[in-house]
Amino acid sequence: MLAYLISGVFFILALRGLSSPATSQRGNHFGMAGMLIAVVTTLVTHDVASLPEIMGAIAIGGGIGWVTARKIAMTDMPQLVAAFHSLVGMAAVLVAAAAFLNPSAFGIVGEDGLINPVSRVEMGLGIAIGAITFSGSVIAFLKLAGKMSGAPILLPLRHVINLGTLAAILGLIGYFTVDQSPWIFWTVTALAFLIGFLLIIPIGGADMPVVVSMLNSYSGWAAAAMGFTLHNTAMIITGALVGSSGAILSYIMCKAMNRSFISVIAGGFGAEAAVSGGEAKEQRPWKRGSAEDAAYMMQQAESVIIVPGYGMAVAQAQHILREMADVLKKQGVSVKYAIHPVAGRMPGHMNVLLAEASVPYDEVFELEDINSEFAQADVAFIIGANDVVNPAAKTDKTSPIYGMPVFDVDKAKTVFFVKRSMGGVGYAGVDNDVFYMDQTMMLLADAKKMCEDIVKALQH
């Protein structure tokens, strides 16, 4: 069906649109169009015995989906995505089951009246992957939604059990090619549900994003498998797209979290305790950002205030920092430098370095002149400064820096904090609440390196 090919191409274009925020909306519309084409084509090219029921099902499902998507809080997105995955998994299971029950409708009956062996494998794989996606996503959903403890639940002998179950599933699918007995089919389904559950249950909350994107990938492969069964181009293309997308995303996340992709795929993940923090004294949650994140957010910002400190001087990052500001300014972002009176280790330390890097004087502001602007700023970019942005100076009478005026960076919409480690403190040696704020992203790297990476990302 040419239409299915077109629909597949539309899905490709949908993902392609995401290569830049500017085209992303258009991409999403391509996706919708592709889906519409696929649905309409299917209805048109088949004798539809039950249009009202189908319309009803679509209306009910669509309504629920639409309302949920509109209503849900942005912060609940992760569990919503997990829940949606479970639906795709379940749909795949149901379709495979229907195909098994009514093979002729799917045109997969061979001349001997039995289902084609190839199709049987495809069906088996489809239902197995679908079932894994379903039960895995349900667990992920429960954990993410907090309806189940996020802590990893470790069964004894789980590796043995997992491997055994997997082997059984594969064996049964193989055997299915020679014996089309229903029990095999249903056993595969049951075992797959089980293993989805077993695989995800031992994984801690911190690894959930990886799990969700793995499941995303699975749902794609399930769709592709059903596409093989149905000889449907749209499903094959889409399945491959979704499958690779999920796999790549998991890979990227693993790299960002410094975990081996293999160990995640092998299900051996999550055994370690789930802490995102490092050496900081109290284990408070904080977010790590990447150079790309910083680049993207700053590009989108109206105004960025840079707060340099001793770390910028140590890293000799002033030149590349100015470069970064230049690129941002070229992209229409207003950039200002906020210099604290005691930033660095000598009076005027930052001024010398910024002047060396040819930062124009009129972009450099002192504390009193700029402090009120943080409230309007989209981004506060703190680079190697620490004490001079520590709110403890305002609030904590016991702090050694109490009484020093500090920048109100906490008022900025987003805060990027460049330093090398969570452990390193400033001159005064005190922890900083800014690290743990909701809107803060820690950019942990040498200041020069980080600015270089951001400049790279800003220029794509």
Binding site: L15, A38, L43, G61, G62, I72, A98, A99, N102, F106
Partner: protein
């Protein structure tokens, strides 16, 4: 369609997926997950076939349920994506 052509399409599509996804800007990885979730419900095609076909009523009802589930996903997925992307609107200048 013979198996080889399907496989060929599948393999090519995997390549396309590989390239397309790597070219997605990192900042849009979350919407990417949402939109792929939405489009993975093309499985609705299978569900529709099952639901449309006469023959086995069980199969038909399974199909109908699958249609409903997939629809949740389609509408929900695209809507969620649209919401996310709205946050990434290019600032006006």
């Amino acid at each position: 369609m013979d198996f080889i052509s399907i496989l060929s399409i599948f393999v090519m599509a995997c390549f396309v997926g590989y390239y397309v996804v790597w070219s997605v800007t990192p900042a849009l990885h979350t919407p990417l997950m949402a939109v792929t979730n939405a489009i993975s419900s093309v499985i609705i095609v299978g569900a529709l076939i099952a639901a449309a076909a006469g023959g086995s009523p069980t199969a038909k009802w399974l199909g109908l349920i699958a249609v409903a589930l997939a629809s949740v996903n389609i509408f929900g997925g695209f809507a969620v994506t649209a919401r996310m992307l709205a946050m990434y609107k290019k600032k006006e200048r």
